[in-house]
Amino acid sequence: MKAPSLYVTAQRWSLAFLDALRGHSTGVVLGDLFCQKRMFEDEWFDIFDLARHARSAGFEVVLQTPAYNTPRSLEPTLALIRKLVRENLIDAVLVHDIGVVQAMKEHPGVALWWDRFSFNRDFIPNAPLITFLREQRISRIEVTRSTHVGDVADGGCGVLLYGYGPEIASFGRICYTEYFLDEPCERKILCARSRPFIASVDKVPLQYLADGYTLLDRDDPMVRLPPLEPTLLDRIDGMTAYLRGPEEIPALREALDALWRGGEAPALAGSGAALRP
């Protein structure tokens, strides 16, 4: 049984968090889907220090591109990628739209991974879609359900399984904080204090935790690890995880080890493992 790679992203990155991850993760995912204020102290500027530190610690570095790459935001994102490539600070990019994939043709050495939020609603990875993505140089596809592992692997694409963290029910472009305060948030309430509020409606049985830009199912556990048949483990190239802070590392480790209960639990591929684009 091969050891899976693990890629960790965080609610908020720091150099100390990276240090705490040593030996537990293959790579780190830098970049927030929506708002860099909440992931970094100094927004995008921090990404270079963090990437250099991650590199020196032997981590692979993955850039998460913003969820919405409009004519306004695409060029700054591409400029960031160019600089990261120039400084050899990036191994892979998690992409959300086909436009970014096209723009990444100028960086053939950077792996392209199709993010789980690139899919429609209750996504089903059909065979023509996987063929389409492979033709566009997508080497790994992130899925959220173990039932989709085989579909993607059978299509000849690498599989990333989102294994640990909250499941997002929906997300939008406008920050809930800004929406309610009607002013720039500057991390005033939701993101900084990690105090999400609950949005509920009586007419239909829906209740969500509203946190910045996202709605999370209120009743879902904040951490999850999908049940996984042992035969599927060998078909996974890597797992992705979202941690709120370094204090969650032991729980992540315990959850991943539990995957192999009944058998010998292999160590996760540690920092410095070779990237398989």
Binding site: Y68, N69, L74, D97, S118, P128, D202, L215
Partner: protein, 310 residues
Amino acid sequence: MSPLHPVEVLAPAGNLEHVEAALAAGADAVYVGLKKFSARPDAWSLSLDEIRTAVRMAHDARRRLHIAMNAELRDPRAADLEQSARVLEEIGVDAFIVGDFGLIHALQEAGSQVPIHASTLLGLYNAEGIRFLQRKYGVSRVVLNTNLYIDEIADLHFLCPDIELEMIAYGGVCFNDNRRCRQPHYLFEGEFCVGCKQIYDAHRGSEDLVVLGPLSKVASQVRPPEIPLQGGRLIWSPEIDLSALVGLFLKVGVISFKIEGRTRTTEYVAQSTRKLREALDRALESPELADPELNTFFYLAHPSRLRAEP
């Protein structure tokens, strides 16, 4: 303004009665779902035979019929895609509205020549993605995501001037994202239920209400004000004159104004089509729209410019 295609009101239809009502109310084009390929329940989608009839009705009235193929399919090819596409092409449908890159790929493999309209579900937000689909798959139209700002729509039009832009102008409200949403859409025995159209209460817990007011977040600035109705549902008032908004979007390059509501009543289809028809006609007749001096009105009036003024 010289649109690539006649400016149109695009009406929804979940059955042939809807098609008839939409055409009578002035729709330039009607879209229907194909059973098994539609993101709406099959009860609100049409069979190939029904589509044949609908095409005849539309073409007899010199209008167009588009086919929504936006379901999530495990294997589009297994669902008789090739045969269905061939039959639809023979019938003479005017476009496929496609919501899956895999389906676009499969249609090309099947040799389909029917124009493809890229659904919002493809998540096209930038010119790079649009140009790619146009070049490789012959996509001729993009249905704009409802959370694009109006100046971003203008940018897309300037950057991709030979792509038709369609907007969801009436009826659809996704308060987050109409693509990346895993909220349940079928809550009641297969009934299509959109949680986005409900008004939410914001609170920290059952006992601890936050004084933020009801949550009816619409993630777009392209909407007329929404009106809360009894029962906690959002809708746009029939009293609101949409012509000014329609005129703005005409100016930034939108040529198709789509109404959502394939699962609604025939009365809704007729009323909303009539309302948008009137708004579009008024906008097209307005002297402001015809005046080339006013073509930059939107940009001159943009809040970001106004803030920059001393």
